[in-house]
Structure formats: structure tokens, C-alpha cells
Amino acid sequence: MSWRRLWAIVIKELRQMRRDRITLAMIVGIPVIQLVLFGYAINTNLRGLEAGISDQANTAGSRALVMDMLATGVIAPVARADTPEGLMAMLRRGDISVGVVVPPDFERRRIDGRAVAQILVDGGDNTVQGAAVQLAQVPIDSSIADSRAPMISTPVEGRISIVGFYNPQRRSAVNIVPGLIGVILTMTMVLFTAIAIVRERERGNMELLIATPLTSAELMIGKVLPYIAIGLVQTSVILALGRWLFVVPISGSLFDVYLAAGLLILANLTLGLLISTRAQSQFQAMQMAFFIFLPSILLSGFMFPFAGMPKVAQWLAEVLPLTHFLRLIRGVMLRGAGLGEMWVDVLALLAFIAVMMAAAILRFRKRLD
């Protein structure tokens, strides 16, 4: 072994690395981004779950119970409803993930030792269900000054009942599979289009194409269309396997499932197009796609519950198409909601698509300079 030759290789590697700006960015960027994202996203100690309250008793005791629950910090009230049905509708739309129901005969039940309240929880996310259990540990009588009843300061098992909606058996496949559609589409679709265009530039095809009457829009839309079909095939494969292997239900309409998938596919394809107008090589395109993929997985709510993340991470997540898709697909597949009920997320995806497509077409020049 010649130290001189070995050293020559080392120096050459370092020189090339210094000139490859994206690789250089990855050396520092990946650890920083990973650390920050994981650090913020992983938060199994859930706080501030969006909750709806329906206090039908509205007595001093019931109000105290609700206050105790809020004091845990696990839930944050965002809505009130007169009836449990009202809460269930909010739950289905995804407006809240926890509902607290105190029945009109709260005082009677408390004295009789029956269940005094009900926690309705969206079982689509197992971590949220776990948080509800924590919530049910609130001592019922400690804060109630009532001379007629004996003081019970320890929580009594079963006095607050938990009703898990949409996934009563708490099977994780039910939670994971709908999200997996989104993750797989994000992983593949961004890369497909990004690489499809950069490859043509690398191979010299692009110089030939831009010297023809072909317009930017024709080229861009023509590139995207076949991949929409491919994305829908992928969606079908995941849905079918989820159904047969893991018995994942599709509570809502199948049409809505495909519509939501179509929106995510378009969002990712247009993002891929935008990357392709920037990337100089296929490898660069893959690196850029990776930078999108990482936060998508960590922040979208696929791995860790959205509510557990700090505000900044949540804002960042709102920019990612996967976040909105997860809300839609869980709503449709698990809770049987319609896309119309979750129009905000539909609108967010549409806006993302429009902005990305316009930016890609504007950035793509039929020029070499």
C-alpha cells in the first residue's frame, strides 16, 4: 500500500466534496435537521389535544371535574357542544380528537358510584387513545366540597369511561395503513418527476426538445400525467393489501379515498417538477427529495401525533402536503367523513399544487442560459 496514492485519493475526495454544494449541505444539514425534527417531533407526553366539551349537567361538581381535566394540560378546549352527538360530529370531521361528555344526571351517578363522565376519543391515533386513559385518572371527588358524600380522594377505576371511536380494538395497522398510502406516494412521486426531467437534461435530450415547438406547459403536464396513473395504481395496491392482510376498513366513500390520493399525487409530482428545474443531476434531485421526505415523515403526524409538537414544528408541517393528506385519509377511511367536511385540507392541497405547478412552469426556460 502506497501512502502517497492513498493520500491522493483522500485529497481528491475532499476537493470534489468542496465543489458539490448539496453534498456539503447534507454533511451539516442532515444531522441538524434530523436532531431538531426528532427532538421536537417525538413527544409521547401528549399535551394540548384539541378537545370538545359537552357538560350537560352544568353543576358546580361537573364544572370542577372538567376544570380538573383541563388542568392536566392533556387537552385544550376548542369547542363546546350541547349534546354528545354534537361532539361526535366534530370528532368525525377531525375538528377535535377528544370529547368530554358529562351527562345531565352527573350528581346522581356520582352518589350511586356509577360512571360519571365519558371521554370520546378518536382511535385513529393510538397515542391519543393513550392520552385519554391518562385523562380518565382524574380524581372525581377530591375537589368537590360535598358533606353528604364520603371524601374519596383516590381515582376510582371505571368512574370515567372511555369510548374509543373508529378503532375500538386499538389495532395499529388501522392507524398505520392509511398513513402509509401518503408516505409511499410522497417517497415515490417526488422522485419520479424530479428524476424524469433531470435525466433528460443529463442525457442531452432536453437540448433537443427545447429547440422544437414544444411548450413548457406541454412538457411539464405531459411529464406529470402518466405518473398520476402510476400513483393511483400504487394507492390501489396499498388499499387492497391493507384490506386483505390487515383488515383495514374503508368507512367513507372509496371515491373520496382516490380523490384525496389524487390530490397528494399531484402535489408531490408538481413538487418534483420544481426540484427538477433546479437540480443539475439525478443524484442532486435525489438529495433534494430526501430533504423533503425527512420532515414529511416526522412532522406530518404519521409517526408522532401532531398535537404533541411545538407550534413552530406545526407551522412547518402545515406546509407539507402529507400533513393535509393524513388528515383527509384518516377522516375518510377510519371515521367515514366526507372530503366536503374537511374542505380546509382539500383547499390547502389545491393551493400547494397550483403554486408548485406555476413555479415549475415559470422557472423552466426554453433556453440554455
Binding site: 442525457r203 442531452g204 432536453m206 437540448e207 433537443l208 429547440a211 422544437t212 414544444l214 440554455l368
Partner: protein, 322 residues
């Protein structure tokens, strides 16, 4: 109509392209007559590709005016694209499509009318000898075959003007001759062709040519005109030790270039206003004797390579003096 109303297909004035501090093309004036094969001769990096890209609207000039087929470029580049064919320096067709698929794709993109497209593709497959290779993937073909396919694709919409950027630089001599035959067929049919090359034998085939050196147009005219106008004399020197003889002459005054060709040396001298080569011949013999390398010096017919050496040398000297 193959050209503007005065029979000129391309006219450029003061064409300049800067990339940062580098001036790739420097105030080039150009006039390409219609229905001709017009050559761009120059070494690598002389600005041939950059000029072609500006002429077909792919690069925006830093300065200068371009008129191609009566259209103002780059403003009317889109309208021009329907009327030109462009063959890139690097093979730019789809290697993972077959010969026929490539032709069909280009017919669609170039807007060949539906009714005509199928016939046109068949016609080109026939003319360009691809009948037994229609289903072969383009990527698996030889260099010469690829270039033939690229040419077929470039003319699929029967363009009035064809740009070819070093079309045969990676092709064997046999295929090159076939390729040029096709180019002359196209010119006969009324197409204007602009071909860049760094090969002298190719440049000699052009009807007219321009010599580019470091972004500057240093000479233009027909190959005959250029050799006639050559401000120098060419000699063949036969010697047993060509390398030593070369060393003796290379730095001598008035010697523009010395090139070894086998056992002989080809020497180009600067003639100045002297039309007769005798003086130069004696001068060379003298120089060789002085170096202890006596050899026979014969006057030779100047060729395009001599022209090329003379004009590029001159432009470099002017640059040094400036």
C-alpha cells in the same frame, strides 16, 4: 422559401456572448446564403456551439442582432423553431426508445400533420437505411448509426434550415462520407445547412465556411477563396531527422507553423507582400543548413489547414500586440 427575400438565410451583426468574464463569442458578423452547406471551422472552445445556440434561439446574445429566415432572434425564436432542425453535438435522442419510436415521437413533437406522419417516418427509415433496424434501441447502435438517426429526426418536419453541431466528430470515415452525402442531398433539395466542425476534410466539403478562433471570426469565404487568399507559402521538407529539423525551424522568423507528417515536415511561412515563394524557400534551406540539418525543400499546394494555421496565428499575434 428557404431564405429571406435576398437569398440570405442567416445574418448576424456584432454577435457577442459573455459568460461572466469569458467572452465566448466576440462581435461576429455572419452572412449565410440560402441552400448552401455553410461550415463553421474552429478548434474546441472557439465559440462554434455557442454561436449556433444563439442563432437558433437557445442562448440569449449579450449583444448583437440576429436575423434568421427573416425572423428577429431571440424575440421570434418560437416562430423559428417550427422552421429549423437542430442536431446537437451530443447524441440527444432517446436511447431507450427504438429507431421507429424516436422518429414517431419527433414527428409528433415537430407537428408533422397526422396524415403525413406515418408516411414520412417510413420514408426516412427507407432513405436512412434503417429498414432492418426499426425495432432496435437507439442506445445499442454504433456512433455512425446514431448520427444517421439524429439527422433523420432533425429533418422529419422538412425544415428550411438545419443546424448541425459537430455532427460527425465521433464517427468513422466511412460513415462520415455517407453522412455528408446526405447533407448534400438536403442542400440540393433546397435546405440551408450550417455545420460546425473541427475537421479540415469536412470543412473542405462546405460551399462556404467561416473560421472561428477564440470567439472571433478570423476568415470566411469558399474553401477555394480562402486558400487563394492565403498570406503564406507552404513547403514540404524531406529529412531523416524531422524532429530535429522541426526544432530548428519552429522559432524562426516568418515561420507560421511546422507540422510533422510522417517523415516529412509541412512548413507554412508568412509571405507578406511577396507573391513568389522562391525567397522563402532559400531562407528555409539556409536555416536548416545553419542547424546542421540540410534537407530538400519543395513548394507545396496550400490547403485549408494552412489557411487555418495562418489566420489563427495572425489573430493571436494581433492579440499579443494589443
Amino acid at each position: 422559401m428557404s431564405a429571406g427575400n435576398d437569398g440570405v438565410a442567416i445574418r448576424a451583426r456584432g454577435l457577442t456572448k459573455r459568460f461572466g468574464a469569458l467572452v465566448a463569442v466576440d462581435h461576429v458578423d455572419l452572412e449565410v446564403p440560402g441552400k448552401h452547406v455553410y461550415g463553421f471551422l474552429g478548434p474546441n472552445g472557439s465559440g462554434k456551439s455557442t454561436t449556433i445556440r444563439m442563432l437558433c434561439g437557445l442562448l440569449t446574445p449579450s449583444a448583437g442582432d440576429i436575423d434568421v429566415l427573416g425572423l428577429n432572434i431571440p424575440a421570434q425564436a418560437e416562430a423559428l423553431r417550427r422552421r429549423i432542425g437542430y442536431m446537437t453535438q451530443k447524441f440527444s435522442l432517446f436511447e431507450d426508445l427504438t429507431v421507429r419510436e424516436n422518429l414517431e415521437f419527433m414527428a409528433e413533437i415537430q407537428g408533422v400533420p397526422r396524415a403525413r406522419a406515418a408516411g414520412r417516418v417510413g420514408e426516412l427509415i427507407e432513405q436512412y437505411h434503417f429498414s432492418d433496424r426499426q425495432k432496435q434501441l437507439a442506445g445499442t447502435m454504433s456512433g455512425g448509426q446514431k448520427q444517421r438517426l439524429a439527422l433523420a429526426c432533425a429533418v422529419i418536419h422538412e425544415p428550411e434550415l438545419l443546424f448541425l453541431d459537430e455532427p460527425t466528430s465521433a464517427v468513422d470515415p466511412e460513415s462520415r462520407r455517407d453522412f455528408w452525402e446526405k447533407l448534400f442531398e438536403l442542400a440540393d433539395a433546397g435546405t440551408t445547412l450550417l455545420v460546425s466542425t473541427h475537421l479540415m476534410d469536412e470543412a473542405e466539403r462546405c460551399h462556404r465556411l467561416a473560421i472561428l478562433d477564440q470567439g472571433v471570426l478570423v476568415a470566411d469565404g469558399t474553401p477555394g477563396e480562402l486558400t487563394r487568399k492565403l498570406a503564406g507559402h507552404t513547403f514540404i521538407i524531406e529529412t531523416d531527422e524531422p524532429r530535429r529539423a522541426q526544432r530548428a525551424l519552429v522559432d524562426a522568423a516568418n515561420v507560421l507553423g511546422v507540422a510533422q507528417v510522417g517523415n516529412t515536415l509541412r512548413v507554412l511561412t508568412y509571405a507578406g507582400d511577396e507573391p513568389i515563394a522562391d525567397g522563402a524557400q532559400q531562407y528555409l534551406q539556409q536555416m536548416l543548413r545553419k542547424a546542421g540539418q540540410p534537407a530538400s525543400v519543395q513548394a507545396a499546394q496550400p490547403n485549408l489547414e494552412d489557411v487555418f494555421v495562418a489566420v489563427t496565428r495572425k489573430s493571436r499575434e494581433q492579440e499579443r500586440m494589443a
